[in-house]
Symmetry: C2
Amino acid sequence: MVEVQSHIIIKREGKLFLGPMQIALLREIMKQGSLRSAAQSLDISYQNAWSNICRINEMSPCPVVMMQRGGVNGGGAGISEYGLKIIEEYEMIVTAVQKTINQINVEINL
Amino acid sequence: MVEVQSHIIIKREGKLFLGPMQIALLREIMKQGSLRSAAQSLDISYQNAWSNICRINEMSPCPVVMMQRGGVNGGGAGISEYGLKIIEEYEMIVTAVQKTINQINVEINL
């Protein structure tokens, strides 16, 4: 079976801002309330998760993730209102593109 | 400036068949007639290019790239009729998805 998929990337000033991994990370933080638990769920290192969140926060006009470093569980983490808006917007984009992709998957002949 | 981009992936039986890198490699092979020159143009190793082409050929119902290994220039390489069809199909998909993305880029507000 041949299947077309699309990975959506959002750039800011030409640099990667959000992709599928970053959105998955934000969603996990929202669910778990902890950066360490979110990293474990996605099977990425804490350092990788931490540097991604720092980058996203630095690139944003206002914070996306609010973090409290340290403590037994590696500190708590939560998503801001702006972060929720970003996740929602990304999902809307994915849905819109997926409509086009679905049509292509019906027609493709490779 | 915020910009949405889409990376198109084609899978076969759930496994990666073609993505932006593989299509760029096929295009370079078409242009240069050599796998080594194509790899150099894309700044990837010959081994990486070789293993990608082997994988694509193995996954395809008929060969995509015809290779002649060895020689001073690392052997010649050419794209089959089926390979040309694949490149064309991929470009059509990118164009269709890009129309949706262009509309999103007009409307996005992050």
